[in-house]
Amino acid sequence: MAVDLLDAPLRISWDICPPGQSPLNRQQLLLVADQLSAAGVFFVTLEEAPLAHPEIQGLLEALRQGGCQVSLLSKVSPAELEVLAQLGSDFNLFVDVDRFCSAGQLDAPALATALKQVQQTHADPALLWTPSRGQLALLPELLKFCSHQQVSRLKLPNQKIGVNPKKSQLDNLPDCTDLGELEKSIAAGDLPARNGLQLEVHDLFLWELLQPLTGGQRSEYGGCQAANSLGHISVAAELFPCSSWPEPLGSLLENELLDLWQSASRLQIREAIQQVPVGCDGCRDYQVCFGGCRGLSRFCRTDDLGRDLLCAERR
C-alpha cells in the first residue's frame, strides 16, 4: 500500500544553536518541543551545536517525556564533552565526522581519539557524515575506520542546505562526478566487510552503490519525503519541508504544527514532488527513485532537468 499524506512529520531535524545566530529561549524551546510531542513526531535530531544551548537538558527531558526519540549531533569539542558528562545517555549521539575531514583527508587518529572521549560518557556513539564535493571518495576509508573501531552505526544523510543557502555552500555539494569516483573506488575493491555496521544512507544513488553493505530493500521508499514524513525546524522555529528545501511553512511559535502540515503551501510542495522531473521523463528507474532528493535538485541544479544531484543520466 503506498503511503498517503501524513498528518505530521515522523522525523524532524532541528537547528538549536548555530554559531552567530540567536537561539530560542527556554520557554520557546519547550513550546516547540510540546508541538512535536503533540503531533506524534517519532524522531527528533538536534543539530547545529545543540550541546551549546544552556537549556539542552530541559529540552531533552521534554522531548523524551513527550514520546520522541532524540538524537543529538556533536563535534566533540571540550565544552561539548563537559555537557555530555552531565546529560546521561538516554538519546542517540552522533559524532560529526565532517570536523575530521579536510583537504581530501580523513584525520582518523583524531576521530578515534574523539570517539574514545565520547565513549567515556555515552555507551554507543554513532558517526554521521555529510560529505562535501570532492570528499565522497573518502567513504571507503571511513568504512574501514568504522570496521576497525567497531562503530555500530554510520549515518550518511542527504545534504543539508539550510534556510538561506549561499552560493559557495551550493558549489560545495557533491554531484554525480563524485559518485562516479566512488564507484571506481568500490569497483577496485575498496569496500570493506560490513562487520556488524548499521549503515543508514539517505540518498538513493549512494545507497544503490553501497547496497552490499546496507543490505535490505527500500521497497517502502515511495519517493522524496520532504513535507511528508520529513520536516526541519530552523533556529528561529520556522518549520521547513526538510533541511534540503529552503521554503518556510510558518513559525512554530505562532502556528500549530498540525495546521502548518495541512496548509496550502505544504500541499503545493507535495504536488510539485508528485510531478515527474523533465530529466527523469522516460527513465526506466523512475519507479525506484522517484527523482531522488527533490529539494536539492530544485534549489541547487543549474539546469532545469530536476534530477537528483547524484544521478548521472536517464537510464
Binding site: M1, V3, Q69, E220
Partner: protein, 104 residues
Amino acid sequence: MAVLLRNPDIVWRREKRREEQVLQELEEGGDVEDRGTVILLISGMMHQLNLLGGMIWDLCDGSRDQEQIVDNLLEEFDVEREIISADVTDFVADLLKRGWLIYG
C-alpha cells in the same frame, strides 16, 4: 486464548485527521480499503494500515484476545460476526508471521 500485543520495538501513530476523512468517505459509501490510518515504522521502513487494520492494531494492547477484539469491532461495524472474525484472523495471522504482533 492468549492476549495479543503489539511488538514494543515498533513505533507507530494513529493519523487522526486522516482517519476522520476516511470515516467520512466510508459513511458516504467510498472504497477506503487502501487508505491508511495508522503509520508504523519498522526497521526504518514506513508502513501503513487501513481503517480496519488500524483498529485491530490499536486494540492489540495486551488486554484482549482475538475473540475480544472481534467483539470490540462488532460495536463499530454493522456486519456479520463471521465476516469480521475472518478478517481479524487473516490480519492477525499475517502480523504474527511478520513479528509485528506477539502473544502476551
